[in-house]
Symmetry: C2
Subunit: 449 residues, 2 copies
C-alpha cells in the first residue's frame, strides 16, 4: 500500500481543500440552514471526484445522498455518513468562525470537521487515491450520506424500508471514530440507542408577576419535581422497568472493558474537573461509559433567563431529555415507560414530545469486518487500537445495518479533544491524512477476505 | 371637590397624552435602555407642569428624580414611584407594540402603563389639577421617583442613608394599586420583602456531546436535585429556619383576610387554569396570597433550548429564584440560610449571586393615612375598597418609609388584568382618570387631619 499512501501524502493539500469546501456549508438540519447546498455538494463530489453512480434519494425530510462506485468483485463495502451538523451555538465561545474551516497549527476548526464531514471526505479521498493509483477498486463501494443524523435520523426508517437494495452490503464502515488522549485509534463495534424527548409543563396562559406565586402553580417547579422523580443523585434512573432489558456483559465485553485504555487524568485535566461522575475510576468508569444507559438533561428553559432580575412566574417550562440505551432496551418501550412513570407520579399534565428514537446496534468482535479494521489501524499507527464493544454515542446503526444483517464497524478521524457538538469543534490534519490511508487499507484488505 | 373633578374631566385628553409621552420611552433598567431620557423627562414634568423644585439625585446606579411642591401647611405627603420598567420580552406575545402606548377600546397598552408610569403620571396630574383650580396646594408634596425598582432598588439603601431630609414626610403614597375583578379599588398597607438570587452550577469547562453523560457530571441535574431540596410538592420551603420569623396573624389581619374579596372564578378563567395552587380556595387562598412567604423559580436555563434535538451535556445551569418575605423575615438571614442549606445538602459548589434584597414593610389599619386613603376611594367609587394588609408584591417600602417612621399606603390605577411584568401590560383610561381624582382627594383630605 506504500504506493497509495505516497499518493495520499503527495495530494494532501487537495484533500484538505475538499474538506474545507464542505465544512464551509453551514448545513444545520435542526435549523434548516444550508441543507440543499450540502446535499448537492456531496452528490457532486461522489459523481465527479470518484465517478460514483449517484442519486439524491428523497425522504419525508432531507434527502439521502447515495453513491455507488463499482469494483472488480461482487463484495460490497458501504460507508455511512451524514452531511448535516449540530447548531453552532453558543457562538460566542468559538475561537474560530464555525463555518470557515480555518487551519491553525495543524488543526482544522469547524462545526462538522469531526462530526461528520471529516470522516466522509476521508472516505471519498481514500476511494479517489485508490482509483488513481490502482486504476479501479477491488470491491464495490456504496456511500449512504443522510442529512438528519443530528436531529435523530427521523426519516431513516422510511429509507431503510424502501431502499433495502441500495443499503445491502457485506459490511459497513460507520460514521465516526477518534484518536484517544493516549494516541490510540478507537474502533467501535456498536452504538447506544436513544429515546430523545421534550417534556413540556404548562401553567397559566401568560407569564405573571411572581407575586402571584403564592397561589398560582409554577410549571418550572412542577418540571423540577417531575425530573427529580426520574433520576436520583446516585444516577439511578427510577423509571419502572428501565433496566429490565439491559444485557449483562459477555466475557468478550468484560475483556474489552479491561483492555480499554481510557486516559482519566488527561480527560479530567482537559475538562477542568476534579473527578468523574460518582467518583468513578478504572474498570467501573469504563464499564459505565460503554454499557450504562443514561438519562440526560440536554437543555432546560423556563421564565426569564436574560440579564438582571425579573420577577416573573413562568407560564411554561421545557426540558430536552436524552436517554442513551443499550442492548436490548427498546426506545419505544422506554417512551411508554416514561409516560407511565409521569402519570403514576401525578404528572399526567406534562406533555412528551417525541424527538428521536434509535435502537442500539452491535457487531461481534470476530466478524471479518471487525478483524479487518482492527488490523488496518495497526498498519497506519504503531499503537494498538482501543476497541470499544459499543460507542457511548448513538446513531441509526440498527436500522441501516443489524436490521439488514450487515455488520458495522466505526472508525474515523476525530480526536479526544474534537469538541463534537460543542464550540471549537476540530480535527488534526495528521489524523485526517491517516484516516484516508486507513480507509484505503480497509478497502484493500476487506476485498481479500 | 367637584370643581377639581370637573377640571380633570375637562383636561383628560391632555393627561392621557402626558402619560403616553412617558410610556413611549423604553426605560428598561435591567438592560440600561432609555434610562437617562426617562429620568430627564420626569424631572421636566415635575418642574414645568407643577412648578416643582427638582433635583436629579445621583446614586451608584440610576439617579433618583426628586421634586418638591410647597403647600400652605407644614404637613408633607410624599409619593414613591419609579420610572424604570420590566423588560418587554417575550415580545412576540404582545398584541400592541410595547412602547407605543396605543389606546384601543378605552385601554392603553404599554410596558409601564400599570407598573408604574400610570400611577406616577396620575399623581403629577392630580397636583396639576389641584393647583389650577385652587391656586396652590394645602400641604407639601414630595415626589421620589427612582430608576431601579424593577432590578430590586439596589441603590435605594444608599439614597435612604444619605438623604433622610429629602425623604422625610408625614405619610407616603406607595407606588401601585389595582381595581379588582369585582370592580373594587385595592388599597394595600404593606409589601412583602424579597431575597432574589441566581444559583449557578458548573460542570465541565465546555458543553460536551451527551454521550459523555455516563461518566461526566451534568450541572443541570445537580441544579434540579438542589432545587428539589428547597421546596416540596406541598409548597413547603425546606430551608431550615425559613419560617422561624413569620408572624402569626393579628385579629385585624384575620378580619382583613375575611373581608377581602378575591374573585376566584374570574381569576381562574382569565388565566385559563382549572384551580389554584394546592386546590386553595376561600380564606386559605386569601391568607396564603397575603401572608405566605414564597420561593419561586423565575427563570431556569441550561444547555440547548433552541429548535429541534441537540444531544448536549451542558457545562452550566442557572436558576433565578425569588423568595417573597413577610414580617419579620429578613432578606439577609434568608440568604445565609439558603447558603447553609445548600452546603448541608452537598451543594457547596453551587454559587449564589445576590440580585435583590428587600425587607417587608407594613402600616397599621388605624393610621390616619390608611383611613384617609380608604375614605377617599369611597368618594370616587360607589364600591367599598378591598384593603390588603400587605400586598403580595414587593418594593423598597421599608427602606423609604418604616425605617424613617413614615406610614405608607399603596393605591393606584391598575386593574386585575393589567399584566404587570407580562406581555400586553395595560390600564383602563377610566381608572387612570379616577386615579387622578383619588389622589386629588387624598391631598385635600390628608391636609385637614
Amino acid at each position: 500500500m506504500q504506493d497509495v499512501y505516497q499518493y495520499i501524502e503527495d495530494h494532501k493539500e487537495q484533500y484538505i481543500e475538499w474538506l474545507q469546501d464542505l465544512c464551509r456549508i453551514p448545513s444545520v438540519a435542526a435549523q434548516n440552514r444550508g441543507m440543499q447546498e450540502a446535499a448537492d455538494h456531496v452528490l457532486n463530489d461522489l459523481a465527479e471526484k470518484i465517478n460514483g453512480e449517484t442519486q439524491l434519494v428523497s425522504t419525508s425530510g432531507f434527502p439521502v445522498v447515495y453513491g455507488k462506485v463499482p469494483g472488480t468483485k461482487e463484495k460490497t463495502l458501504s460507508f455511512y455518513n451524514h452531511y448535516d451538523v449540530q447548531p453552532e451555538d453558543p457562538i460566542e465561545l468559538w475561537e474560530h468562525p464555525p463555518f470557515e474551516a480555518e487551519i491553525q497549527d495543524g488543526t482544522m476548526y469547524s462545526r462538522g470537521a469531526a462530526d461528520n464531514k471529516g470522516n466522509l471526505m476521508a472516505r471519498i479521498a481514500a476511494v479517489h487515491a485508490y482509483q488513481q493509483v490502482r486504476g479501479g477498486l477491488p470491491l464495490n463501494i456504496k456511500f449512504i450520506v443522510e442529512g438528519e443524523e443530528e436531529i435523530g435520523s427521523i426519516n431513516l426508517d422510511e429509507f431503510s424500508d424502501n431502499h433495502a437494495d441500495l443499503i445491502q452490503a457485506d459490511g459497513c464502515i460507520w460514521e465516526f471514530g477518534y484518536r484517544n488522549a493516549d494516541g490510540r485509534q478507537q474502533v467501535s463495534l456498536g452504538v447506544k440507542g436513544m429515546t430523545y424527548v421534550e417534556l413540556v409543563c404548562k401553567g397559566a396562559n401568560t407569564d405573571l408577576h411572581s407575586a402571584n406565586a403564592a397561589v398560582i402553580e409554577n410549571p418550572a417547579w412542577r418540571l423540577v419535581w417531575a425530573l427529580n422523580t426520574l433520576k436520583d443523585e446516585n444516577e439511578h434512573v427510577k423509571i419502572e422497568g428501565f433496566y429490565d432489558r439491559v444485557q449483562s456483559l459477555s466475557p468478550e465485553d468484560e475483556r474489552a472493558v479491561r483492555d480499554l485504555i481510557y486516559s482519566e487524568k488527561e480527560m479530567l485535566k482537559q475538562l477542568d474537573l476534579p473527578s468523574f461522575l460518582l467518583d468513578l475510576e478504572g474498570k467501573s468508569l469504563k464499564e459505565r461509559l460503554i454499557f450504562a444507559p443514561t438519562c440526560t438533561i440536554c437543555g432546560i428553559e423556563s421564565g426569564y433567563t436574560g440579564k438582571g432580575a425579573k420577577t416573573v412566574l413562568p407560564s411554561e417550562a421545557r426540558v430536552k431529555l436524552d436517554f442513551r440505551l443499550v442492548p436490548d432496551q427498546d426506545p419505544y418501550e422506554i417512551l411508554q415507560a416514561l409516560r407511565k412513570h409521569l402519570d403514576n407520579h401525578g404528572f399526567e399534565d406534562i406533555e412528551i414530545n417525541e424527538m428521536a428514537m434509535e435502537k442500539p446496534g452491535k457487531t461481534p468482535y470476530n466478524d471479518p469486518l471487525s478483524e479487518t479494521v482492527i488490523a488496518a489501524t495497526k498498519k497506519i499507527s504503531n499503537l494498538e487500537p482501543t476497541v470499544m464493544p459499543m460507542s457511548p454515542g448513538t446513531g441509526p446503526m440498527h436500522v441501516l445495518c443489524q436490521k439488514h444483517g450487515i455488520p458495522s464497524v466505526s472508525v474515523g478521524v476525530g480526536n479526544f479533544q474534537s469538541n463534537n457538538h460543542a464550540p471549537n469543534e476540530n480535527i488534526q490534519i495528521e489524523d485526517y491524512i491517516d484516516g484516508i490511508k486507513l480507509i484505503a487499507t480497509v478497502i484493500e484488505d476487506y476485498a481479500k477476505i
